[in-house]
């Protein structure tokens, strides 16, 4: 595996609490995702997938292990990055269970917000946003209010947002949960497209039976441990 980009996790453990009541949410997790790869993370609820995402997203601190994102070691038994917020802003894209668009910003600004936060001038940020919206085939809604969009359109905007700062890594948490099978597959198709186009490593946490077969590789997680297995890699139209 090329260690320069992508996601690399070694021996990641997370323990909540201490002593008798301690809960090990993650036990020695190892994972590796190459740039351009879209990998599934599957497991029952309570298996630790959310915890793993939170560790990758640098919003909770693991107990032990090493995380490398985009070639940069961000955690090695302790945070190695001083400003996690900047990390999240520039190096990680988030796609949530629901679009979670900012309601008081229009579609373009929702996407352009990220480059603006990174210090880009407004014109450039909006241009980048429009680009992404076009790529996701939702540019015709560029000036609309978020509330005017359909669920699928909103999801596509949120994907555009996740890509706006060209992060090397995207964490997707149940992105198809609110959608029906057709739209769900469409989302996966888009993710694959974006991944290969922008060489982003994407990890998709899901238990949606309809999309799991599309992954080429799948990580199973159970009781905090991960098992890699080959996915079906079913083609998408």
């Amino acid at each position: 595996m090329d260690k320069a980009v992508g996601i690399q996790i070694e021996g990641l453990s997370k323990r909540y609490g201490a002593g008798e009541a301690a809960v090990d949410a993650l036990r020695e997790v190892n994972m590796s995702i190459a740039p351009g790869e879209v990998v599934g993370l599957v497991g029952p609820s309570g298996s630790g997938k959310t915890t793993l995402l939170k560790c990758l997203g640098a919003v909770i601190e693991p107990t032990r292990g090493r995380i490398t994102l985009g070639g940069e070691v961000i955690y090695d038994n302790g945070w190695k990055i001083s400003d996690l917020r900047v990390l999240r802003r520039d190096r990680i894209g988030f796609i949530f269970q629901a679009p979670y668009l900012i309601p008081f910003l229009d579609v373009t600004d929702n996407v352009a917000l990220l480059p603006m936060l990174a210090g880009r001038p407004n014109g450039e940020a909006r241009a980048r946003a429009l680009e992404l919206l076009q790529a996701l085939d939702v540019a015709h809604r560029a000036n609309a209010e978020t509330s005017e969009l359909s669920g699928g359109e909103q999801q596509r905007v949120s994907i555009a947002r996740a890509l706006a700062n060209r992060p090397p890594v995207i964490l997707a948490d149940e992105p198809t949960a609110p959608l029906d099978s057709d739209r769900g597959l469409a989302v996966v198709r888009i993710l694959n497209q974006m991944a290969s186009e922008y060489q982003t490593a994407i990890i998709v946490v899901t238990h949606d039976e309809k999309i799991i077969p599309t992954f080429k590789r799948v990580y199973n997680i159970r009781d905090g441990r991960t098992f890699e297995e080959a996915g079906e890699g079913r083609a998408l139209e």
Binding site: T50, L53, K54, G57, V59, I60, R85, V86, R88, R89, D90, F94, F96, Q97, A98, Y100, I102, P103, F104, L105, D109, L113, L114, M116, L117, A118, N122, E145, R161, L171, D173, E174
Partner: protein
């Protein structure tokens, strides 16, 4: 970087404007209360200025003629004219009473004055000055009388020949100016029943009703019905003399007290208005607290309604500072709308108040600063809540 606060305000502008209106009305009431106090102080100042007097000579040991009642003989002014430093000395009377026009009654302060002397209103707003020695009146516009009206004071009817503005007593009652003799009669002459009663009693008294002295009873009745008192003498001090020195001279007369303008200022403002200013101060504090609570509540609710978005914003890399700024700017924007609405409302409904409302620029500036400060402080509750949000809650739902 776009201004998130601005976008949020524009997005939910209805809620904002409505809240701003409500806050504005509250602030308007606050401005009006402060304006009422300033108006009372101005009433007192105008009263003292318009009298054209440098000294007020009243009954000894009283704080009259405004704060307390004072009664002195009406020939005292002649003695005062003889003192060095006295340029003009004129009798005045003041009496709060109901003045009737048609079927309606107005509470007014009836002032008895001598034309061309201190005590006469300095300028008019309509009509003319009094030219006849009796039964003409000049009234302040706040009485709602018009030139040409006939009003009734005590026993006589008066024709309103002129109107003034801002001629009010220290208690805020509008003034009605009538010739001194008429005012003396109105104040000191008893009503018909009392006069008849007095005559009967004199007639029944054998030492007053002597058959051997015809004319004695009539003379006694006449003296009982005479009115030769006034409430004060207004003195204008000649150029080059100090009012306090002249006042000292007057105080040496054992039966008189004399106040300079500073002393009258103090009496009116410190003593008469002092009690009011406490009340108004408490009101203002209460209104400020209520406004603060209102702003805090609204901003807090608006923030709570955005908890999820705040979590997302924090997750995707928005600074804490930016989020705090968003909330603070909203609070300040609310305060700004409230201030503008409040100031406009206070200006609009001020003239309709029964008392004079004086809105000073200084008060407006101070009000602005206080409103902004209150909004800033009120927003801290919401800011604390926002900062405590854990971005991790965006993941996993």
């Amino acid at each position: 970087m776009i201004n998130l606060a601005g976008r949020d305000i524009l997005h939910s502008w209805g809620k904002f404007v409505l809240t701003g209106l409500g806050l504005g009305l509250l602030i308007g009431v606050t401005f009006t209360m402060a304006g009422v106090y300033r108006g009372m102080v101005d009433d007192a100042k105008v009263l003292l200025n318009n009298s054209g007097a440098d000294l007020w000579v009243v009954q000894k040991d009283t704080l009259g003629p405004y704060a307390e009642s004072s009664s002195i003989p009406d020939d005292v002014y002649r003695d005062l004219l003889g003192l060095p430093g006295v340029a003009q000395a004129a009798n005045v009377t003041y009496l709060n009473m109901q003045v009737r026009k048609g079927d309606t009654d107005v509470r007014a302060t009836v002032v008895g004055f001598e034309p061309g002397q201190p005590g006469e209103p300095g300028s008019l707003a309509a009509g003319r000055r009094i030219t006849r020695s009796h039964y003409e009146a000049v009234a302040d516009v706040m009485t709602r009388f018009n030139v040409g009206d006939r009003i009734h004071i005590r026993r006589h009817d008066y024709a309103v020949v002129g109107l003034t503005r801002r001629m009010v007593s220290s208690g805020g009652d509008p003034m009605v100016f009538i010739p001194l003799k008429d005012a003396q009669e109105a104040q000191f002459l008893k009503d018909n029943d009392a006069i008849v009663n007095g005559r009967t009693r004199a007639a029944a008294n054998p030492s007053l009703n002597r058959p051997g002295v015809p004319g004695l009873l009539d003379a006694i009745n006449a003296s009982q019905a005479s009115n030769h008192n006034v409430n004060a003498v207004l003195v204008r001090v000649a150029d080059g003399h100090s009012p306090e020195a002249v006042a000292q001279d007057i105080r040496h007369w054992k039966h008189l007290q004399a106040f300079t303008r500073e002393q009258m200022d103090d009496i009116l403002i410190a003593k008469m208005i002092g009690a009011h200013s406490e009340q108004i101060g408490i009101f203002l504090v209460i209104l400020a607290v209520v406004s603060a609570a209102m702003v805090a509540f609204i901003i807090y609710t608006m923030t709570l309604g955005k908890i999820r978005e705040i979590a997302v914003l924090k997750l995707i890399g928005t600074r804490n500072r930016t989020i705090a700024g968003l909330i603070l700017q909203q609070a300040l924007g609310l305060g700004l709308i409230g201030f503008v609405v409040g100031k406009l409302a206070a200006t609009a409904w001020g003239p309709a108040f029964p008392k004079y409302v004086l809105l000073e620029t200084g008060d407006a500036v101070r009000g602005f600063v206080i409103v902004m400060a209150i909004c800033a402080i009120a927003s801290t509750l919401a800011i604390r809540a926002a900062l405590k949000v854990d971005p991790a809650t965006a993941i996993g739902g």
